[in-house]
Symmetry: D2
Subunit: 105 residues, 4 copies
């Protein structure tokens, strides 16, 4: 039997966006532009953008923050709010954001 | 405009499993038991297990390997094959595995 | 000119230990035994042990914690105190611990 | 007893530079300018720059590459050669580069 525990402090987020056809590059540029400032946030542990190999329109952030408050601070930033409310609607067909706690073995 | 490039060598994988009701702990133990040996694979960069905060039955690996060959070597390991073919059917309602390349800005 | 900022919240530590001749394996085992519990600490971002290629008696931790308080909590743990005060004197010829803040570009 | 193994494929490097008095900022800018292109190298797993808290003139890279060849490719890049041969002599009082293999427990 594997012993495990849950790190309930840190927060992991997988945020996946499906670009409209032909909008992949614009979506990558919009999401990529968020990276430098986010990595400067003191609560940011990881903020990595990825493109699906089988479905190149699928662009997915893998994120880790030091705690829930740091994640909420991130989400409330002007640039993030602007992405979700002004940029994303023109570029994204559907999206899914799921937050996690890491399981430590 | 954000300059970016795609790291087409390294491979990122997000593998998400939805446990049958009541099978979360058994699933976490089964997936957790794969971690130590996988982290010893020379091609493994990251192999982290997570539990969804909103849907605790959702258990998701965030993985990174040095290249596609290292990922395929991992997938072919006896323990991984046994998980997918013998262990998972009794524990998992649905699953999705997506592979990515990281976008570097 | 490269713009940069310092992440003064998170704490990076490089802790390097030179084993007495013939004590490398005992030192690796002693330091390795600290890894699982440390990775369960909510403030631990990274805790990786390494062996020098040119000088195999040199065993070095690369560490990252969410903040200074998390690092101090770690250092005050019984297992860490026991290592420094009871285990290390018999195994280690010299050591150096240096703490850092990450520079974000 | 703690079981462990050595990942002899991947290569970890800790490269530490002590700036001449008054040259810290110039050194951070010179080393920081190397980060974006290095992170685009397919063999780069980690390339993080840090400033010592107790000795701010000490600037240290924590690096990980997929294998020795990827590290050597990195070291042979024009920008790295130029740093070591043309930039560093004016900025750095002393330096130490040590390479490691990670110990996996």
């Amino acid at each position: 039997m594997t012993e495990y525990s849950i790190n309930r402090s840190q927060l992991v987020c997988v945020a996946s966006f499906l670009a409209f056809p032909g909008k992949e590059v614009a979506l990558i540029e919009a999401l990529g532009s968020l990276i430098p400032d986010t990595r400067r946030e003191p609560g940011c542990i990881r903020y990595e953008l990825n493109q699906s190999r089988d479905e190149p329109r699928r662009i997915t952030f893998v994120e880790k923050f030091v705690d829930v408050a740091a994640f909420e601070t991130h989400c409330a930033k002007d640039a993030i709010q602007e992405y979700f409310h002004k940029v994303m609607p023109a570029l994204v067909e559907s999206f899914h954001v799921e937050t996690y706690h890491e399981i430590i073995v």
